[in-house]
């Protein structure tokens, strides 16, 4: 029994090691919005033929942020995900999937005015 546990732990450790080596930032974009209306970050990570995507926008609670994310899958039609306008901070994480590319549009609004809108993409 003890030997079995040892083997399982050894395999798990090897998987962890290999996983930590193959995963790295495939695309990373970090910038400020126009005129100090906050910041945004877009990151796509690749591991074992799959990609995840993390998009964040943040700044003052006087401004509202919204993310629209288009997911371009390998074999099926693109899928859109979005947040509502939220104050101070907004985020979308898409898990590792068989995706070719991600495209995000990030909007910053101050009351009834759109202050900036950026489109970023990566694979």
């Amino acid at each position: 029994m003890k030997n079995k546990i040892k083997k399982i732990l050894a395999v798990a450790a090897m998987t962890a090691l290999v996983g930590s080596i193959t995963a790295f930032a495939d695309t990373y974009i970090s910038n400020s919005f126009q005129d100090d209306y906050g910041k945004y970050m877009f990151e796509v990570d690749y591991a074992s033929g799959m990609r995840n995507c993390n998009v964040e926008a943040w700044g003052s609670d006087n401004y509202q942020y919204k993310i629209l994310l288009t997911i371009y899958y390998k074999n099926i039609a693109p899928v859109d995900r979005s947040t509502k306008f939220e104050s101070e901070y907004v985020k979308i994480d898409n898990p590792y999937e068989e995706v070719d590319d991600y495209e995000a549009t990030i909007i910053v609004r101050e009351g009834i005015m759109i202050r900036d809108m950026v489109t970023v993409s990566g694979s």
Binding site: A13, T15, L17, I29, S30, N31, Q34, D45, E86
Partner: protein, 320 residues
């Protein structure tokens, strides 16, 4: 010895689990929502897309204005925004309504469709049709303040009216952990100054700056262990203070609404610049009632001959 091996294995497992948590869990953090809605939800009509009303029908026409009623219940806000019901003849161009509608969560999806439509409509022949080889660049607009239609809330936004905008036209990113510049051959700017409505003498002054290699290197800084580029405003501020070198590529005043093209193919072929900065300014008398809209679209060439043929037929639309 056995104990050490177990500790090591458990440490590896812990590292693995931490790594998974960092990347795999879908998460949408909810903070306070701000629900602004525009009355009369728009029907997305599919035919004759050149017409603005193919995308937006959520307004009423009054005194030659398209009047949008905007409500935010949590703040007891109920206001109107009136946009001149005018579009230039010829090509479809950007409209203030494209940005007014974007403030509504539901309407922002339709706004995106309209922007995508413009991006396709203005794509020159010979450009790549891959979605990732083109992109839109938000530049700016002004909300008109017309006393008969609006409230103090709109007056406040007018006070923060921005008449000058700067944008970096090429993307700087980390690709496969290497610093990369994503360059686009063609830039199209769509301008609407509503000159047929206002009969004013306002103009859009457009400047292009080339960023040489040496200046470009100085604009890269490290944040959280990763390289990021300084904003275009910061670079232009340094240039105006004599702290860095930029080359002015063009300085032109545009007096008519329309779609204007710029071709950077030669600059890319010769690797002359590592970034292009756009500065755009509304000149002339700008009253509170005035509105304007600017939007940019970028493309990459895949068929040089098809592009050159198209360019020869549209040479009057090129300003660089």
């Amino acid at each position: 010895m056995k104990k050490k091996i177990y500790i090591l294995l458990i440490a590896f497992l812990a590292l693995f689990i931490i790594g998974c948590n960092d990347n795999n869990i879908p998460e949408e953090k909810n903070t306070q929502e701000h629900n602004i809605t525009i009355e009369n939800p728009s029907a997305d009509v599919q035919n004759d897309k050149d017409s603005l009303s193919s995308f937006y029908t959520n307004f009423v026409i009054q005194d030659k204005y398209r009047v949008y009623r905007i409500i935010e219940k949590s703040k007891n806000m109920d206001i109107n925004i009136a946009i001149p019901d005018w579009q230039p003849e010829g090509d479809a161009v950007i409209d203030t309504a494209d940005f007014v509608n974007a403030i509504d969560d539901e309407m922002s999806d339709i706004t995106q469709k309209r922007i995508d439509f413009l991006k396709e409509k203005l794509r020159p022949n010979g450009m790549s049709k891959e979605w990732k080889d083109s992109k839109e660049i938000f530049i700016g607009y002004a909300t008109p303040y017309i006393k008969e239609y609006t409230s103090d809330i709109v007056a406040e936004t007018v006070n923060k009216r921005i008449l000058i905008r700067t944008k970096s036209l090429w993307d700087f990113l980390l690709k496969d952990n290497k610093e990369t510049i994503n360059k686009y051959n063609i830039f199209c700017i769509s301008i609407n100054m509503y000159e047929g409505f206002y009969h004013s003498s306002n103009a859009t002054r457009l400047l292009l700056y080339g960023v040489p290699e040496e200046t470009f290197k100085d604009t890269i800084k490290i944040e959280d262990g990763k390289s990021v580029r300084e904003s275009s405003e910061t670079i232009l501020e340094k240039y105006n203070n004599g702290e860095c070198k930029l080359d002015i590529l063009t300085d032109i005043e545009l007096t008519k609404s329309g779609n204007y093209y710029m071709d950077f193919s030669e600059i890319i072929a010769n690797n002359t610049y590592q970034n292009i900065i756009l500065k755009i300014e509304l000149t002339g008398e700008v009253t509170d009632e005035y509105t304007y809209a600017w939007e940019g679209f970028e493309y990459k060439t895949v068929n040089e001959q098809a592009y050159q043929d198209w360019k020869a037929e549209n040479v009057d639309k090129f300003i660089y």
